[in-house]
């Protein structure tokens, strides 16, 4: 994909006229590299998967007549001699936001062709992601030890456990895959794999899209599952 193909023709019109032009002029519709367009379309499909999980969670939570466990109490941790509600979950949220920040910086450094900083920022993002998964594993083992199962739990409606393990498990799997993806790309950046390739460091931005999406999904899980 060369820049010449993307930018051929005259000045591009913005807004509504641009929308019509992009779809009707017998050319590529999206003025972005194909990898980026494909990642966006993949993320769109992933949006629907997570939406289905969250809508399913909403449905079973409304439909059950059993009391719904209070997430604020279930996910409380003891700290400084008090029960602090959602302590670990809040820490996990801040970690994921921070990792989104380091990822955004990595994208920026990639376009500045600063390989060393791009590499280290991506590694930092991966480390933060891995610590997120570690805390999730801790959360899971704590809940399992307290008797929460996908089919029953001592605190209320059985559907609580199924929704919890399904939604956070699927999200955790995305984070784990993202950590591997980040490390693969980071080491390629480090050894100069993208120096002379067409497209260059836009791969860092594409990886970043996936990573920010994982953070985005967590925003919804945090609000709808843990807080609501």
């Amino acid at each position: 994909m060369s820049e010449a193909v993307l930018d051929s023709g005259a000045e591009k019109a913005p807004g509504g006229q641009g929308l019509v032009d992009d779809w009707s002029r017998d050319k590529q519709v999206f003025g972005v590299p194909w990898g980026k367009a494909m990642m966006w379309i993949f993320l769109l499909s992933d949006t629907f998967i997570f939406s289905c999980f969250l809508v399913g969670y909403m449905s079973v939570r409304i439909a059950t007549t059993d009391p719904w466990p209070n997430p604020s109490e279930v996910f409380a941790l003891q700290a400084f001699g008090h029960d602090v509600p959602l302590l670990l979950i809040a820490i996990m949220t801040f970690i994921l936001i921070t990792s989104s920040g380091t990822m955004a910086l990595a994208v920026n450094m990639g376009y500045r062709r600063n390989r060393k900083l791009t590499f280290w920022l991506m590694v930092a993002t991966a480390v933060l992601g891995a610590s997120f998964v570690g805390m999730q594993a801790f959360e899971w083992s704590k809940l399992i030890a307290e008797g929460v199962r996908p089919w029953e739990n001592p605190f209320g409606a059985a559907q609580f456990g199924s929704s919890f393990f399904m939604i956070t498990g699927f999200h955790g799997m995305h984070v784990s895959a993202g950590v591997i993806y980040l490390l693969v790309i980071a080491f390629r950046v480090k050894r100069g794999f993208y120096e002379n390739r067409p497209g260059g460091y836009e791969i860092v931005e594409i990886t970043g899209l996936y990573w920010h999406f994982v953070d985005l999904v967590w925003v919804f899980i945090f609000a709808l599952f843990y807080l609501w």
């Binding site: 769109l44 920010h212 807080l227």
Partner: protein, 114 residues
């Protein structure tokens, strides 16, 4: 790719980072409020403010062409229909469960910490 927002001053990332931290603290703060319409509204408000920031700034959607914006951000709107239909359906299911099986008699434990 020259003028489409691949080169921002770093300042925008620090601002984003701090604002996401602040918004997350506010989100977390709603957990200490009493249940009610206000709390639900604030949970959703902070959720959408955070999500919007991530998509528009971190994912650079704000700098993309309208064709891509609509193709990606348009379809998820259909999910609102699914949410509406499923909540109607589940409310009906809950009602018929109460009608046929009565209210729940489940005994629950308060979560304890060991």
């Amino acid at each position: 790719m020259a003028d489409d927002g691949t080169q921002h001053p770093l300042r925008i990332y620090w601002i984003m980072w701090i604002s996401l931290f602040v918004l997350s603290s506010f989100s977390y703060g709603t957990d200490f409020m009493d249940d009610g319409a206000l709390r639900t509204f604030l949970i959703l408000l902070f959720m959408m403010l955070k999500a919007g920031r991530i998509v528009l700034i971190f994912m650079h959607m704000g700098w993309e062409r309208l064709a891509l914006k609509l193709a990606i951000l348009g379809p998820p709107v259909a999910i609102l229909v699914l949410i509406g239909l499923m909540s109607l359906e589940s409310n009906y299911v809950e009602g018929s469960r109460i009608d046929n099986y009565g209210e729940s008699t489940m005994e629950v434990e308060t979560p304890g910490h060991h």
